[in-house]
C-alpha cells in the first residue's frame, strides 16, 4: 500500500539515483560538453565546465541533505530543529548555484536561465523552511502544554 513512508523511501531511492548521476556527470562532463557543445569555442567551454564543477559541491551537499532528511522522515523525526537545518542548507545550496550561474551567465547566456530557476527554488525552500520552523515552535509549545 502506498503510504507516506513508502513515498519517503521512494524519494530516498530517487535521491540515491541522483547521487550516482551526479558522480557520472562529474566524470563525463568534459566529454559531454565537447560532444554536444562543439560549436562553442574552447575558452567558453572551459568557463562552462568551471561553472559546472563549482556547482557540484552544492549539488552533492543538497543530495546528501535530502537523503538525511528523508531518513529522518521515515523514522518519524519530522518536526525537529535538524529538519529546519537541512531545509536551510538546501536553500543555501540553491542560492550558491544561482550565484555561480548568474556570474558565468555573463559569458554564456543560457546559464542565466539556470540562475533564475535556482533562485526561484531558493525562494520556495526559504518559505518552506520558515513554515517548518514555525511548526517546530508550535509543536514544542504543545508538548510543553500540560
Amino acid at each position: 500500500m502506498y503510504t507516506s513512508v513508502t513515498s519517503a523511501k521512494l524519494t530516498r531511492v530517487l535521491t540515491a539515483g541522483f547521487c550516482v548521476l551526479l558522480l557520472a556527470l562529474m566524470i563525463l562532463f568534459p566529454r559531454l560538453l565537447a560532444f554536444y557543445f562543439a560549436y562553442l569555442d574552447v575558452a567558453l567551454r572551459h568557463k562552462v565546465m568551471f561553472a559546472f564543477y563549482l556547482c557540484c559541491p552544492a549539488a552533492g551537499t543538497a543530495l546528501v541533505s535530502i537523503l538525511l532528511l528523508m531518513t529522518n522522515i521515515i523514522h518519524d523525526r519530522v518536526f525537529t530543529a535538524k529538519t529546519v537545518f537541512f531545509m536551510r542548507l538546501l536553500s543555501w545550496c540553491c542560492a550558491w548555484v544561482a550565484a555561480v550561474c548568474l556570474g558565468f551567465g555573463f559569458f554564456w547566456a543560457p546559464l542565466l536561465v539556470f540562475a533564475l530557476g535556482a533562485a526561484f527554488m531558493t525562494l520556495i525552500l526559504r518559505v518552506l523552511k520558515s513554515v517548518l520552523a514555525r511548526a517546530v515552535a508550535i509543536k514544542e509549545e504543545n508538548e510543553l502544554t500540560i
Binding site: 514544542e140 509549545e141 510543553l144 502544554t145 500540560i146
Partner: protein, 70 residues
C-alpha cells in the same frame, strides 16, 4: 517565565507523592515534572481543575506570579 508553579508545598501539605498526584490528575510523571520544574509553556484549565481537585486547593495556592527583573 514569571508564573511559578508551587506544587511541592501543596504536595507536602496533603502528604501526597508526585506519582500519586500524577495518577489522580491523569498525567504522566514526566509531565508533572515539567510542571514542577517550570518548563511548562501552558497549562490547560482541565489539568488545573484536576490538580486543584486532587489537592483540594485553589489555583492561587499553586500558581504564583513573580515579577521578572529586567
Amino acid at each position: 517565565m514569571a508564573i511559578v508553579v508551587n506544587l511541592d508545598v501543596m504536595l507536602a501539605k496533603r502528604k501526597l507523592s508526585s506519582g500519586e498526584l500524577a495518577a489522580k490528575v491523569g498525567i504522566t510523571q514526566a509531565n508533572l515534572s515539567i510542571l514542577k520544574t517550570g518548563k511548562a509553556k501552558a497549562v490547560r484549565f482541565s489539568t488545573l481543575d484536576a490538580i486543584c481537585k486532587a489537592l483540594d486547593c485553589q489555583p492561587g495556592d499553586i500558581l504564583e506570579y513573580q515579577k521578572e527583573e529586567l
